[in-house]
Symmetry: C2
Subunit: 187 residues, 2 copies
């Protein structure tokens, strides 16, 4: 039974991730998650608690631990931005889930407070003070630029496939310029 439970939880998390990315927290239906995961609705509540708690679990599992597979290169934040661009492009549901999250349930989880606290400490240790941009704000600005593709105004949006490569280069150049004063001082 424990082996089955692990497998069921895995299927529920995957189905919940797709459901929340498509419809958001309010729009998501646990019935549909149960059907797509071939799981029992009752078991979902038993394993994960409320729909809100399931959402928090998906946010930590798919957004936070996912991002942790793309480590920050503090001495080259442009390279980091390029890696995140590729990571997001490989599964656009990640960016969708982030937007729903900011709209519907922006409070950070304990796991995120811990993780971002550690990131900030690393970043502060790795870089001299930037006089114009605070460390947390710089991280947030770069974080925001990770979402350029999903926020790109439809009326300006590039249409051809090749434009994705152009946009990637633009984001990398932008983050390079943004973090350049620091890199200059650090070299």
């Amino acid at each position: 039974m424990p082996r089955d439970a692990t497998e069921t939880k895995r299927r529920v998390l995957e189905a919940a991730y797709r459901e929340f990315a498509a419809y958001g927290l309010a729009g998501a239906r646990v019935d549909r998650i149960a059907a797509n995961a071939e799981a029992n609705k009752r078991a979902i509540y038993d394993y994960f608690g409320s729909k809100e708690e399931l959402f928090d679990t998906v946010v930590v599992e798919r957004l936070l631990t996912g991002m942790e597979t793309v480590p920050e290169t503090w001495d080259d934040l442009a390279r980091f931005a390029g890696a995140v661009f590729d990571y997001y492009a490989s599964d656009p549901d990640r960016a969708r889930l982030t937007l729903w999250r900011q709209l519907e349930r922006p409070e950070p989880t304990a796991r995120e407070l811990e993780s971002f606290g550690a990131k900030l400490a690393e970043m502060r240790a790795a870089r001299p003070t930037d006089e114009a941009i605070d460390t947390a704000d710089l991280y947030a600005l770069i974080w925001t630029l990770h979402h350029t593709a999903i926020l790109y105004p439809g009326a300006l949006r590039p249409t051809a496939e090749s434009d994705q490569a152009r946009l990637r280069a633009a984001v990398v150049a932008a983050v390079g310029r943004l973090s350049a004063p620091w890199r200059g001082e650090a070299d």
Copy 2:
């Protein structure tokens, strides 16, 4: 009757704006819009068409024509970013509506295609070529940075009131650095 109709439409648009900003397109209820606008539900459909068409009208009316009151200063995009920061800060529902829009109905309206086309033509005329960042992409990057406050990760979020001023300065500095290579060439 025409005077009443104008006043009713105004109240419906205001109520619809608040409803869509709070709940998004799928979550919005025309019943609630009608109640908040003290209008007849049937009249809303007669004036604005479907819920989707009402959403499009609100997007154009509140996001596009709103933004047009904050004109781009092509020779000083950092100043423009500061003005947009203040404009968004004065009514955070604007940024919320933009996020819902990108998630639920990203297709541009005819009015936006026209407006953004004109912006791009102005921007291309005003600035020399930036070798690393295409004009449309630069506009989109700055557009994305207008949403730094709403995308700011909760786990990093500044808590004190005064931190809003710090974040504004950071966004202005970021856009200044982003557009600096062009300004350098243009001077």
